[in-house]
């Protein structure tokens, strides 16, 4: 079932955030939001910000992704 557009926007924003700050690999990995890499990177971000490690794009995590911040990645490259 196609996602409602707002959900889709949130997922795209999350993917962009995780790619920029947590090194989520670029490219097509099937449904990004269900892939192992996506969950792993979300948990990395939740761990960094001491959020609950859900591995999901929950409201709390999304709220943090929308806060104004520095453009340097949070994890070393």
């Amino acid at each position: 079932v196609p996602l409602p557009s707002e959900d889709k926007d949130n997922w795209l924003q999350a993917e962009k955030y995780l790619r920029r700050f947590y090194g989520l690999p670029a490219g097509l990995q099937g449904r990004q939001e269900t892939s192992g890499a996506f969950r792993t990177k979300i948990m990395e971000m939740q761990s960094f910000f001491k959020l609950k490690l859900t591995g999901n794009l929950d409201d709390n995590t999304l709220e943090f992704m929308k806060l104004p911040r520095c453009g340097v990645p949070d994890v070393g490259e």
Partner: protein
């Protein structure tokens, strides 16, 4: 704190910098001052010195640009990404870029250039992001006044460069309190639209039944006009207001916004002038009265009439047997008063008038 991989740093303590262009949001002299003050933040605790170049190539090249600005690492328009910087090294190493699509200010009305510059120049010197919400190197922007460096930042930069040989006394901000510290005490506690807010130092935790993990945030990043330290707080659900006490002043909040006419003096409630601080406050939903605790005594304020009840102050010891004689914070749930004092929490049954349970203060965090 974190460093970049291989602990990248400048091999020479005398670092040069150049401001390549300026934002039209501020006077040139304001930008110069903000950058110089931001560099001083780091030189005050290390042997590093910063020499300004007016042309040519400096170690740290500082510029303002929007969207794609030459390093294939584009900005994103207003908000979102504010700035970025590169770790020490040749070429682009150390260079610091600010997003010109932001509004840069000298105060808290928009993004404060000094605070963002101090953070970015931390990167330009070798610091990566910190997970400590109170650290300057925490990746999310928050406005604060006074000392910007936390202990965590100082430890990190001195691990790279050592201390400043003639370091004047630098009073760093304390790190964020650890919710699972068994000796943790609270400054204040209140309900807020179904959530429980716990204040400690410059921070507050938000607890919500559907949010198993408490969320720690700087007080000033949510309520910039509040002081850094809260003594007491209570929610008056009838008015949908939270009253915050600090020293002899009190503020009324309606969600994120400050109610007009505040801060006011606490004595407006009818407290005697001798009271200089409210230790704890709690609204008893079943009686419509607010209990205000100070030292060993407490008062009862009738919210409906806006007056202090006669017959007070009374002593905590007399009316709340089994309790310590002082209180740091208090919340009221369905007939039970939870008093917090130091690292001990007392659950007091308001109906049977006795302490029925004693726990650690931070047991509320399910550590």
């Amino acid at each position: 704190y974190n460093h970049f991989p291989r602990h990248l740093k400048w091999q020479n303590n005398n670092v040069t910098f150049r401001i390549v262009n300026y934002t039209p949001d501020l006077k040139k002299s304001d930008v110069d001052r903000a950058i110089r003050n931001a560099l001083n933040v780091w030189s005050s605790v290390t042997p590093l010195t910063f020499k300004k170049l007016h042309n040519g190539i400096a170690d740290i090249m500082i510029s303002f640009g929007s969207k794609e600005h030459g390093d294939y690492n584009p900005f994103d328009g207003p908000n979102g990404l504010l700035a970025h910087a590169y770790p020490p090294g040749q070429g682009i190493g150390g260079d610091t870029h600010f997003d010109e699509d932001e509004l840069w200010t000298k105060d808290s009305s928009a993004y404060n250039l000094f605070i963002v510059a101090a953070h970015e120049l931390g990167h330009a010197l070798g610091m990566s992001h910190s997970t400590d919400a109170g650290a300057l190197m925490y990746p999310i922007y928050s406005y604060s006044t006074g000392q910007v460096l936390a202990e965590d930042d100082i430890e990190g930069i001195q691990a790279l460069y050592g201390p400043n040989p003639d370091q004047k006394k630098v009073k760093p901000k304390p790190d964020a309190p650890d919710k699972c510290d068994p000796m943790l005490s609270f400054d204040a506690a209140t309900e807020l639209r179904g959530e429980t807010i716990i204040f400690k130092d410059r921070f507050y935790w938000r607890l919500h039944p559907q949010m198993p993990e408490p969320e720690q945030t700087l007080i000033k990043s949510t309520w910039p006009s509040l002081p850094n330290k809260v003594d007491a707080a209570y929610e008056n659900p009838q008015k949908d207001q939270v009253i915050i006490f600090s020293g002899i002043r009190m503020w009324a909040l309606n969600g994120y916004s400050l109610v007009d006419g505040y801060p006011k003096y606490i004595h407006k409630l009818g407290l005697p002038k001798t009271v200089r601080k409210v230790d704890a406050a709690v609204y008893i939903r079943d009686t419509g009265k607010t209990l205000l605790f100070s030292d060993e005594e407490y008062w009862s304020y009738d919210e409906a009439t806006g007056t202090m009840e006669s017959g007070y102050p009374r002593t905590i010891e007399d009316d709340f047997p089994g309790m310590d004689d002082e209180v740091d914070a208090a919340v009221y749930h369905y007939g039970y008063l939870n008093f917090f004092h130091d690292h001990v929490q007392y659950e007091y049954s308001y109906t049977s008038k006795k302490v029925i349970h004693i726990m650690r203060t931070n047991s509320i965090f399910n550590c």
